[in-house]
């Protein structure tokens, strides 16, 4: 079994001797690239089998472009699947209908015919529809494949159980029993405070479709993500050495019941950046010091049991002038700044919720200036330009009260994506 690669980076390679300091450590976890060699694993098609249920909102507000695009996206999904995969489709408004129960994707045309007849009407029984989708999946659980419900909605749960916390904790309950949940929110009127935590606790992905046209693209990423999943149930513990203290983990991960950080699923070849801030006492010049021990727990997609990867990071202390002369690692600066921006976005959301739009705008403005200052030496890097453009655009949209719902969603999803390395 191939392991993910864990690398540690600090802003400068060495730390300053004889001075207490705050050190940003970038931990980059890179899952392996899948090998084309198929001989090692019998029956391995290069991806796990999928057992999906698409839970599709057909309430009145979906009428028009959104419904058309959602149907197209669902049909696209059918086209991407293999006969060894299983698919069911559940549609909902105030009533729930199993369009077709979980079955192998052998007759694609008849599945697509059924999907093509889905029309918008009624209100939104989101919770029960999600449960029905889960039931379709749970009836045919794959032990080593991926069991997932994909919930697609543009609205608020307003029929049946509507309590956000309750639904979120149920999504976690279901994930602990082997079925994950992804959510796709469309437009400006759905509840991001439900859909995002639901996917996070549910072990899946949260997507925001801004334009109906993006739907197919999002579906494609979700499917590629499923196919490329390397490991699930990923957790991290960080144990600082004597004299070292963890000040902050900038990703704001949730904790598991055993007090470890709960990490997102790992995708083949796609790295996850984690930034931890440490308080370190200064040692003598030339001293090598073990800073941090890391334990990464994960369950590989094609294995039954969890594995643990252990690694430590050691640094050397040097004189102040030597440290100052050494090169600065842009990757660390960028990772730190982007995660701080993720927090700022959440703070701006809070201000918006309190009606303080000027305050929210000011926060984003400060993040923009801070990002420009911190990344001045590599301002033309695509990631930096994209980050600045996103901050600018959201700050600008905050001047228009008609765009509030959309602005809040953009803030929420940008912060979420950054933290979970998407």
């Amino acid at each position: 079994m191939e392991h993910p690669k864990v690398e540690f980076f600090t802003t400068r390679t060495k730390l300053e001797a004889q001075r207490e300091q705050t050190v940003d450590v970038l931990i980059r976890i890179t899952p392996p690239v899948p090998k084309p060699d198929l001989s090692t694993r019998p029956n391995w098609k290069g991806r796990p089998d999928l057992n999906l249920s698409l839970v599709l909102d057909r309430s009145g507000s979906m009428e028009g472009e959104k419904m058309i695009r959602a149907r197209e996206a669902a049909m696209f999904c059918v086209d991407q699947m293999l006969p060894t995969d299983r698919l069911s489709v559940v549609t909902f408004d105030d009533r729930i209908e199993v369009l077709f129960p979980s079955e192998p994707v052998t007759n694609k045309q008849s599945m697509k015919d059924l999907i093509s007849r889905v029309m918008a009407r009624g209100s939104t029984a989101l919770h029960e529809a999600w449960v029905r989708g889960g039931l379709s999946v749970s009836e045919r659980m794959l032990n080593q494949g991926i069991n997932r419900v994909v919930l697609i909605t543009d609205g608020l749960a307003n029929v049946g159980i509507t309590n956000t916390d309750e639904i979120v904790s149920q999504a976690m309950g279901l994930f602990q029993r082997g079925v994950s949940t992804s959510t796709i929110g469309i437009g400006a009127d759905f509840n991001e405070d439900l859909l995002m935590p639901m996917a996070q606790s549910g072990g899946g992905n949260a997507w925001h479709v801004v334009e109906p046209n993006d739907m197919q693209h999002i579906f494609q990423i979700e499917l590629e993500g499923l196919i490329a999943q390397f490991a699930h149930t990923v957790s991290l513990s960080l144990i600082p050495a004597d004299g070292v203290r963890i000040v902050d983990v900038l990703n704001d991960f949730d904790l598991t019941e055993t007090g470890r950080y709960r990490l997102p699923n790992l995708q083949f070849g796609s790295p996850l950046d984690i930034v931890v801030q440490l308080k370190v006492g200064g040692e003598e010049v030339g001293t090598q010091m073990r800073l941090l021990d890391l334990r990464l727990g994960f369950t590989p997609q094609d294995a039954k049991n969890a594995e643990v990867l252990k690694q430590a990071h050691t640094v050397e202390f040097a004189t102040r002038s030597e440290v100052e002369r050494s090169a600065v690692n842009d990757e660390v600066i960028k990772a730190v700044q982007f995660l701080i921006n993720a927090r700022a976005r959440n703070e701006a959301m809070k201000r918006m919720d309190q009606g303080d739009f000027d305050g929210a705008q000011a926060i984003l403005g400060r993040s923009l200036s801070a990002t420009r200052a911190a990344c001045a030496d590599f301002a033309s890097a695509p990631a930096v330009m994209a980050e600045c453009a996103s901050l600018e655009e959201t700050a600008r949209s905050l001047t228009d009260r008609l765009k509030d719902k959309m602005s809040r969603k953009k803030l929420a999803y940008a912060a979420y994506n950054r933290r979970s390395g998407k």
Partner: protein, 204 residues
């Protein structure tokens, strides 16, 4: 590691020294490192006594002569405590996590869940979801594929399809239209027994 732990199922360890040795062997295999030397990595008899006093490992009830007889549950408790200590959890938190847990739950915490435990996963997810549905919605929804032109039910479970039969004033039997009554005397009897059982429980 998994096999090492699972093959201990059903084993008994007579006396504390034998129990400590079994724990020691498996822990050595698990390779748990304890940081900073604050926690001993291999539990000696004294440590196990301390764990029992702290309620981390249950005190065995079974005795052989004067020796306590430890079992698989005690072993899992010991291994879990050491594992969680290696993860720097405080004793208080460990006690919360370990106390009252079944063998299967402890196996899961240890990450050695057996194939049998995995097998129950399917029904586990299903049972969980079924429990989340409101009782009024417990019957499956219609399948559109079967009859796309038929009118849809207003609710998942329409009351129209239920028949009410009064047994005596204050007690009714509700029967769904598609229910077929028991065909044999034996089946009728077992149904009555179920009813008697339920009624007894009501009486407390």
């Amino acid at each position: 590691m998994t096999q090492m732990v699972l093959k201990e199922r059903g084993r008994k360890y007579v006396g504390l020294p034998e129990f400590a040795r079994a724990g020691e062997q498996i822990l050595a295999e698990m390779g748990l490192e304890q940081a900073r030397g604050t926690v001993t990595s291999v539990p000696d008899e004294r440590t196990i006594r301390y764990y029992m006093a702290e309620g981390l490992v249950q005190t065995p009830e079974e005795k052989q002569g004067t020796a306590s007889v430890f079992g698989y549950l005690h072993l899992l408790q010991l291994l879990t405590v050491k594992k969680l200590q290696a993860e720097h959890l405080p004793i208080r938190k460990i006690r919360e996590l370990v106390a009252g847990k079944s063998e299967q739950e402890l196996e899961t915490l240890l990450g050695v869940g057996s194939p049998a435990a995995k097998k129950t996963r399917e029904s586990d997810a299903k049972r969980y979801l079924e429990s989340l549905l409101a009782p009024s919605a417990a019957s499956p929804p219609r399948q559109a594929a079967a009859a796309p032109t038929a009118p849809l039910p207003q609710q998942l479970d329409t009351s129209a399809s239920w028949k009410r039969i009064e047994i005596e004033p204050g007690l009714e039997l509700h029967m769904r239209s598609d229910y077929s009554p028991p065909a044999t005397t034996g089946k009728t009897r077992s149904l009555l027994e179920k009813a008697i059982h339920r009624l007894r429980r009501l009486r407390g």
